[in-house]
Symmetry: C2
Subunit: 300 residues, 2 copies
Amino acid sequence: MDSVTLEDTTLRDGLQSEKIELTVEDKVSLFEMLVNAGVRRIQVGSFVHPGIVPQMADIEELIRQVKAPPEVRLSALVLNSRGLDRALKCGMKHMNLSVSASDTHSRKNVNRSFEKARSEMIALTKQAVSHGMAVQAGVQCAFGCVYEGAIPEEHVLTTLQYLSEAGAGELYLADTSGMAHPRQITRMVEQVHHHLPGETLSLHLHDTRGLGLANIIAGYEAGVRGFDVSTGGLGGCPFVKGAAGNVPTEDAVNLFARMGVDTGIRISGLCRIVEWLESRLGRTLPGRMCRVLQHGALCD
Amino acid sequence: MDSVTLEDTTLRDGLQSEKIELTVEDKVSLFEMLVNAGVRRIQVGSFVHPGIVPQMADIEELIRQVKAPPEVRLSALVLNSRGLDRALKCGMKHMNLSVSASDTHSRKNVNRSFEKARSEMIALTKQAVSHGMAVQAGVQCAFGCVYEGAIPEEHVLTTLQYLSEAGAGELYLADTSGMAHPRQITRMVEQVHHHLPGETLSLHLHDTRGLGLANIIAGYEAGVRGFDVSTGGLGGCPFVKGAAGNVPTEDAVNLFARMGVDTGIRISGLCRIVEWLESRLGRTLPGRMCRVLQHGALCD
């Protein structure tokens, strides 16, 4: 039986723009529910300035409190040396970072040009690796940008190459604004495999235009075996309805189950998390399988 | 440029289980907005007993009032001889009917066994064709059933064959409970093309598990060029959250536009319909592209 690895981003990409701040206890509960559902890779948060992302202010405390079984891998987003220091002090062994291939998006998002941000992330990768950190490095807006439209594939490929050469052990492509379509995923994955043979590549797909699952399938068929997902599809900005989170973890698990591909994750456990999140956040999340399980045979 | 035909079911499958009844004037407006958006095939409703589906009680009046340009094709669902008489009296030239390949679902849905329902629909097809009606005939639960699980492919294929032999000029496969996955779509479409070469086949896909667009792509790649869709994704039952409508028309248009496939439909026109429907029905619909257009460049 073939298998894929789903990395849950609920605690990081999912929560980062939530207005309602969860307590550390809530986050520990969420982490434990993810582990109990069978999730084996969990993004726990970001080492960013608490003034910029208040939801991530308690990441040190969260990491201190969670009891991760040895088979569960924690990672966190790091943006600079200061964040790296904090991550190392917490004993983190895995981190992720990214560069936006869109210059406009890069300036809006991190106040730096694409070139400058890339140089910094290459340097940060080297620094992190020199401290024994495993780095997963990615390219945002890899399939298009709402500001710039099409993004040159060459920007994406060379950026991945530089990050790989700097020591990133895993690479990823992010569809930041959910603009990718399946044929584009297929082509880009083939390009990466051709230009960077042997690299481990995963996909971080936002579901803004409803194509997340279709794009996961295209990635899988092209050989990708790692995907970022968010329970309930939590993510985007709650005040910008058009924005959407990563593909719902439970819907990705259902897809792979239907295709006979093992994820090691139980949908029922994820649906308990969706119900829990919905009660905490006071709104319905976009994931489908929780609704299907709640209403069972009526769903025809 | 390749093209596909999207048949909008908002007025039929979309509205049929809505508690809030739209007036005939509202439905005429909806029809006209669909035409203005570029939709060329529209399901206007069902000739069923008004006591069973009150939303469809005014179908004769609706058909009398709409002014369809010659390039727009109207069709309606017909379930029996009495419905056929009504459709013929309205001057309808196209109708659709279906048989559920799941015996349990057939008994729950139309109070008849699979075999009995199939015999009746074969007879109804013959009767309709003898009156000059063009019949599109389909198989419900073609990809699985929430009550019975897997459905034998043979039931699906032989049913399509009998309906074709009875005179149905177009055939369709319906994923009634949204259980299909793309590989299953590919296999089943290939089977139909193999066993019934030359038949026109379309897909009617519910988005219950979020796989509607992925399944449309699989169908397209396997050669299907006709898909049922519902503006905003309207459909399912508003009181059973797990149920979902057909794939949102605007999201399917976006998908095909991204793939360079022509639908002849403008997303902006559909999004006006979504906003109009949401104000009439008092709730947000699941389609994504209306949100994307409303929030434009913020969606990253």
